[in-house]
Subunit: 321 residues, 2 copies
Amino acid sequence: MRLATYENGLPDGELIVVSGDGERSMSAGPKWPSLLTAIESWSDALPDLRSLADRLEAGDGEAVVSEKLRAPLPRSWQWLDGSAFVTHGELMQVAFGMDPIDRARPLMYQGMSDRFLGPVEPAAFPSEADGIDFEGEFGVIVDFVPMGTSVEQAAGYIRLVVQINDWSLRTIAPVEMKTGFGWVQAKPACSMAPFAVTPDYLGEHWQNGRVCLDLLVERGGARFGFVNGGEMAFSFAELVAHAARTRDLVAGTVIGSGTVSNAQYASTGSACISERRAIEIIAVGAPSTPFLQFGETIRMVGQCSDGAAPFGAIVQEVARA
Amino acid sequence: MRLATYENGLPDGELIVVSGDGERSMSAGPKWPSLLTAIESWSDALPDLRSLADRLEAGDGEAVVSEKLRAPLPRSWQWLDGSAFVTHGELMQVAFGMDPIDRARPLMYQGMSDRFLGPVEPAAFPSEADGIDFEGEFGVIVDFVPMGTSVEQAAGYIRLVVQINDWSLRTIAPVEMKTGFGWVQAKPACSMAPFAVTPDYLGEHWQNGRVCLDLLVERGGARFGFVNGGEMAFSFAELVAHAARTRDLVAGTVIGSGTVSNAQYASTGSACISERRAIEIIAVGAPSTPFLQFGETIRMVGQCSDGAAPFGAIVQEVARA
């Protein structure tokens, strides 16, 4: 099943159910006005939403108005982003001059969750000098997860899968990282691709708690990366259990994979500029790929082996705030 | 003006206005059902709430039912905690074996905001082995703050002042800190004292964007610290401006001071166990004060020079989750 959110003037938007082919939709109606409401009562909401999905497959519904699509979850109470791709972690360690990181534990930070930008919403930043960068990744939206949930149990709380661009400011990132406090200024609002999908919708592309499909990243229309989500060192279930070690996770918590990255980066490219710069530093001693300037456009789309795009595409222009 | 939140079965609770002496209250009514609602439309809400406050001073209202008091803001979209007391930072650096930290920038991390525990709610943790600790601090609740707001402008967005216990797990904290990603497992839900107050209510105890009063911290009835909030190296306005450097701050954002700490710690004591342990390490080479065990009680109350307690008291028992 695919879900999305229409702009309706309210902070959480209007929940819609979308047909499998992404062409038609129906409003989830007043009982489930927003995705956040549905996630908070998922066992009640799911049959209602599935019933609408069945009607859509039978031909009901209206054409999706792409201009009205926001982030499927325009805001949530919690956003926890992992960094589960080992290749990315190792390359970034070089780029940022950090000490080697303990690989036995997932890396995770808490970020801004009060706003997720929509798929075509311009991303506004105060200064090009901050090192504007994207990070293509996947994420899951979970139900309420009790503190102390095991990895085995955690998989059962994953309700939806999403595609995310975790906007990052690279001049600030290492300064904040060095304090040990994590990122505030270096991590403004993320963006989401328009469709949140249930894990079953991904079929064979959802394996071992990983999104096993290719994320195409284009900068100004040119391929920047074509990286597969299957190489996570920790599954999403492991990330959920890690997050729930000492806290209950509120329903609607979004948990990210971190930048998708592959060991064969020479052929796959990267899902963020900083990683490519790290590769350049390692190869020739200095980075040559510049960070983003105002007016540049980034496109990200997860693609199945048959070319289908379950999450739809993020296409954003970098703007001056 | 003093505000508080009653338990009413809803996630955000019921907003009440409390008399200056803390004895009587009136419901803010259906127009302002919760503090979050009021903060989101503060310019409209303020006259209504002030009018109820005036009626309370004229003798209206009913006795405050302390058993019904929750955190004044039971949840919010964003919690950003600073570490603005230099003495605490220097001592913790020793305790955690961290590199010296750049003093020119405020320290700040993003923490869990989906739940703030109430003033007498037990604080439940999975294991004593995690190094259960408290952190007594003050905080502010801000209106919507546009990205790029200056320090001078930031002061004008501070709507309310609160008293916070930032529960911390010290065995995990340095492990997470070392990654540079900040804390997730080491920082479960914080608690709030029952009353949120407007800055003017604090009178002379609100100076230069600082809460200039003493925070009494008791562990098991014995004084642990009696520390003054006036020694912040950065004012709350500076913390707000720092947070808003690259993002709009959503209305209801809570910004914390970090653990209150004084240069004369030999006489004032500390507002967290870890700081006292650091002092012991510096003095005699090893810590002797243990972290908390299940069943222990922590009390925190900010006190004016006349003994008044504008925020009320936090009195929490440490419980097994």
